[in-house]
Symmetry: C2
Subunit: 112 residues, 2 copies
């Protein structure tokens, strides 16, 4: 077993959290999202993002508007809905709780 597999697993769910976080204060389209995530060392392909964005939009957590590009086809710019903002705050709390849980386990072991 490669650590790589589990590291991929670790990112599940967290990826969605990162995307919702990035959309909190910005309107962003997919390719830009990928670049932002890459800048934070989270590699993603668009085959992962498009289904995720569609899923979140159907759940009415995201909305989008079309915007024409200066060089190419039009883009879907996503942003959070009001429900999305609430959702983000829940995920934020969950993230903090979970990191605390993990850290307590790591610390617990060191001291025993």
């Amino acid at each position: 077993m490669e650590a790589k597999n589990t590291i991929t697993q670790m990112r599940r769910g967290i990826l969605e959290f990162c995307i919702v976080s990035l959309l909190a204060d910005n309107e962003i389209y997919t390719a830009e999202l990928i670049n932002r995530l890459k800048a934070a060392n989270l590699i993603v392909t668009d085959g992962t993002l498009y289904p995720m964005l569609n899923r979140l939009q159907k759940a009415q957590l995201l909305q989008y508007r079309w915007e024409e590009s200066e060089s190419g086809p039009p883009r879907k710019y996503y942003s959070l809905t009001d429900a999305g903002v609430v959702y983000l705050s829940k995920l934020d709390t969950a993230w903090q709780d979970m990191t605390e849980s993990v850290e307590s386990i790591r610390r617990g072991n060191k001291s025993e």
Copy 2:
């Protein structure tokens, strides 16, 4: 969509990291593992753990020995193999990298 689902997703992979961490310095059997995780607010069922432990053991990251109980059937006490120790250090690094990535995204938004 419920935040609950995504929070469940967040735990994927991280769960394995916690288990390997808990086994780093202790021999533990399944029910005890569940209690330890519950103490850290990570709820797990044994239907999740047994397949995971078997998988890790087949990958030669975990080993176990049978120990008779004073009150009931014998127990499988798990511990890390040498490869498991190496594996843990990789996961530990991956965990730190990932939390840094997520925090940078959260921070990045706040400042923009």
